[in-house]
Symmetry: C2
Subunit: 197 residues, 2 copies
């Protein structure tokens, strides 16, 4: 509908996840009215991400060198590995401040419908890490949905015979939530996992 | 929270209108996993908008040369001018296919709280266009909100003494809507503007 460059930008923005046609148009006009310096900074950040960001050789978290910040940290224990699906899960767990071990980022979850089996994930690399003998416990922190549960079950079957302790994050009621608004499955899990007080 | 370039991108994306921290993170990881060609195309579209897009010398719509596509079109009549707030309003009206005259983009609406008075808008330029004598009718198509109504009233007072026909877009019930869900002011306007059938 627009002429040349502004329409190109609207089209490109509209391809981003969660950006619909109206948002794309709104962002494009915001860009048109922004300072050239700010726009160049955004354009530079986009290209730099593709040039500089890579994945950690050990845990496959995002990194800017061979090892990510967490794998480089000497104060963390090598005896605990927390297995997650994506780099953003690492950030979520880091924010809790509860975990002082290392991570292993699978790069997704088993999902046969999307053609993602164990070979498409970093599972072989995880086995190599475990074969080293330093690790004592594996915490399976994949998402509490069908794909995440399937992945956790698969990993547990694979790792348990190695004699390691394998745990899964607790499912239950979210803290600060209302019991009334919890779905049946979550509430059922909360009953199953009830603890003595 | 992330290292270097990916965090820079999340920060930059988070400054765009309508993009919150979660969306910024989601888009950044999408970019990280996209083809380099696609990312460069987006970065290029961003910088090109600032380099190539300008405003039409006549109507102040977005353009890539001195005159926009609409002002260049010889099949449109010069006797009708539709006054709108923003370039996106031009697109909205063009989509109806109902209007074959020219436009005038004010660049906003009168809003004293934001320091936007008549001098911050393209009102002087509109008066110069009208002084030419070709224009017969002015359609005030500013938004049907407080600022848009104030701007329309201001313009009507300015233009009517020139002996031109000044009209305003009809307010009323949206087509395909439910009477029950219309707000009182819209429903009131629909009564005011009722027509013989």
């Amino acid at each position: 509908m627009y002429e040349g460059a502004i329409q190109d930008l609207i089209d490109e923005l509209g391809r981003l996840p969660g950006v619909g046609p109206k948002s794309a148009q709104r962002i494009a006009f915001h860009i048109l009215q922004s300072d050239k310096v700010d726009v160049n900074r955004l354009a530079g950040a986009l290209t730099r991400v593709k040039e500089q960001v890579r994945f950690c050789d050990t845990c496959f978290n995002v990194a800017e060198s061979e090892k990510c910040r967490i794998c480089r940290d000497p104060r963390r224990t090598d005896e605990l590995i927390c297995v997650v699906e994506e780099p953003k899960d690492v950030i979520a767990i880091e924010k809790t401040g509860e975990f002082r071990g290392r991570y292993h980022v699978l790069g997704g979850a088993i999902n046969p419908l999307d053609g993602i089996g164990p070979d498409q994930l970093r599972i072989r690399d995880l086995m190599t890490r475990l074969a080293g003998g330093t690790v004592k416990e594996i915490i399976l922190a994949t998402d509490p949905n069908t794909e995440g549960e399937a992945t956790a079950t698969y990993l547990a079957l694979l790792i348990k015979p190695m004699g390691l302790s394998v745990t899964r994050l607790a499912s239950g009621l979210p803290v600060g939530g209302d019991l009334e608004y919890a779905d049946e499955i979550t509430l059922g899990r909360a009953f199953e996992g009830r603890r003595a007080v």
